[in-house]
């Protein structure tokens, strides 16, 4: 639960509060568990709801709530320039880069990505947790991965720029 909260909010203090709140909900509502799904699924659903409620409260008025939590596939989905040279990620990205990029994802993408690729839930379980369809879960996951790819490529380019700058500065100082 803590890992899920931490990856969804990216902040240890908030993650601790949210985990505590989720456990309190668990104790208060344990009598409502009917066994229709696995207990872990029920627990994670409760946790995701607690986190999403907190994120809804924190959403800036200028941001569209729907776009933040469930970005529309047509309007805000990541675009891929077919002709642009892609930077290969393999060998250039480490875990720190990846986790930092995950934090930058919109909450809706982030939730599905963490539940599927990190926690190992299947799409039908994610649909149960998130209260969406299986197709929606698959779509969100694909968009999350695509967006992460863009963020990681930006990070690689940024690192390359920094290294070039550092090299220029060093060679300039030697002259």
């Amino acid at each position: 639960m803590y890992a899920l909260c931490l990856r969804m909010v990216g902040n240890p203090a908030d993650a601790e509060d949210l985990m505590q709140e989720a456990f309190l909900q668990l104790y208060r509502k344990i009598g409502t568990f009917r066994g229709e799904s696995a207990f872990s699924t029920w627990l994670h659903r409760m946790t995701v709801n607690v986190v999403l409620m907190r994120l809804r409260k924190k959403t800036l008025p200028t941001d569209s709530l729907e776009e933040t939590l469930e970005p529309d596939s047509e309007s805000s989905g990541p675009k891929r320039d077919v002709g642009a040279p892609d930077l290969r990620l393999s060998g250039a990205v480490d875990r720190v880069n990846l986790e930092r990029s995950i934090e930058k994802l919109p909450p809706g993408y982030r939730t599905v990505f963490v539940l599927h690729d990190v926690q190992g839930y299947e799409h039908n379980e994610i649909a149960d947790i998130m209260g969406c369809s299986v197709g929606n879960s698959k779509s969100q996951l694909h968009k999350a991965r695509t967006r992460l790819r863009e963020l990681l490529q930006e990070e690689i380019r940024e690192q390359a720029r920094e290294e070039r700058k550092a090299a220029k500065t060093q060679s300039g100082s030697l002259d």
Partner: protein
């Protein structure tokens, strides 16, 4: 197949189950090949991220405090920590058995007193000064002789002796006699149960006119004594076990009541 078609396939089917058309396109399109390769790398890297992270210890402390404050959890009863599991259910079983047998013995004694005519018997041992019971000559007459040692288990307990004797509904001398007859704890906690002094006191004495009631009373007493011995053994090993002390106190009370009943019924036959 076009690049955008491939992307739709990847979106709906994932990275594992690509169609033959999609695989064929990948062999021909390096951009799409790179795209799929990057997504596979991201998925693999995410799987390597630990799914579980242990939260800081203070989170659990804070959570527990909040749960207790809301009354959702309560402090567990710690009195029986260390009690072997074989003893605990046995105590429960024994306790209800003792209660039931004591009640049955009491009822039997009451019925006996009210319905069954009996012949006069030898004088009951109301006081230590009385003459020994006219029983088998070879049997000892411990009634006249006080037990060699007092009941240190009673003294060891923080049970007020006044409360113990006050529970008796009979006269004072009977209560003090009962105290004398209470078994002393054996020095070795592991020793087996020794015959009750009452069994020695009343080897052949008829406690009631009905031999069945008599046997029942003795059996009840033996059961009580076994339970008391077990409690005392446990308390020797766990002197701070308050619940065990309560059980022992209750058992002594029940024994006192039972002995009083037995003596009253025996005395009333005269």
């Amino acid at each position: 197949m076009q690049c955008k078609d491939l992307e739709l396939v990847v979106e709906s089917e994932g990275l594992v189950l690509l169609t033959s058309e999609a695989r064929e396109h990948l062999t021909l399109c390096p951009a799409c090949r790179g795209f799929v390769s990057d997504l596979e790398f991201i998925a693999a890297a995410a799987r390597a991220i630990p799914a579980e992270i242990e939260p800081p210890a203070h989170v659990w402390t804070s959570l527990r405090a909040q749960l207790e404050a809301e009354g959702l959890i309560k402090e567990p009863v710690t009195a029986l920590e260390g009690v072997p599991s074989r003893i605990w259910p046995r105590w429960f079983g024994l306790r209800s058995l003792i209660t039931a047998t004591a009640g049955a013995a009491l009822l039997a004694a009451v019925l006996l007193l009210t319905h069954t005519p009996v012949a006069p018997r030898a004088p009951a041992a109301g006081t230590p000064a009385q003459a020994p019971v006219q029983t088998n000559d070879s049997a000892p007459s411990p009634l006249a002789a006080p037990p060699a040692a007092p009941a240190p288990s009673l003294a060891a307990l923080s049970v007020p002796k006044a409360a113990f004797s006050a529970k008796r509904h009979s006269s004072g001398p009977t209560a003090s006699r009962i105290k004398e007859l209470a078994p002393s704890p054996s020095e070795d906690a592991g020793t087996t149960f020794a015959p009750s002094p009452v069994d020695q006191d009343f080897p052949d004495m008829e406690l009631a006119g009905n031999s069945q009631v008599d046997a029942s009373l003795r059996q009840n007493l033996r059961t009580l004594n076994e339970f008391i011995a077990e409690c005392e053994r446990h308390l020797k090993e766990n002197p701070h076990d308050q619940l065990a002390r309560e059980y022992l106190y209750t058992a002594y009370q029940q024994k006192a009541d039972l002995l009083a009943t037995m003596m009253d019924s025996a005395r009333s036959e005269h």
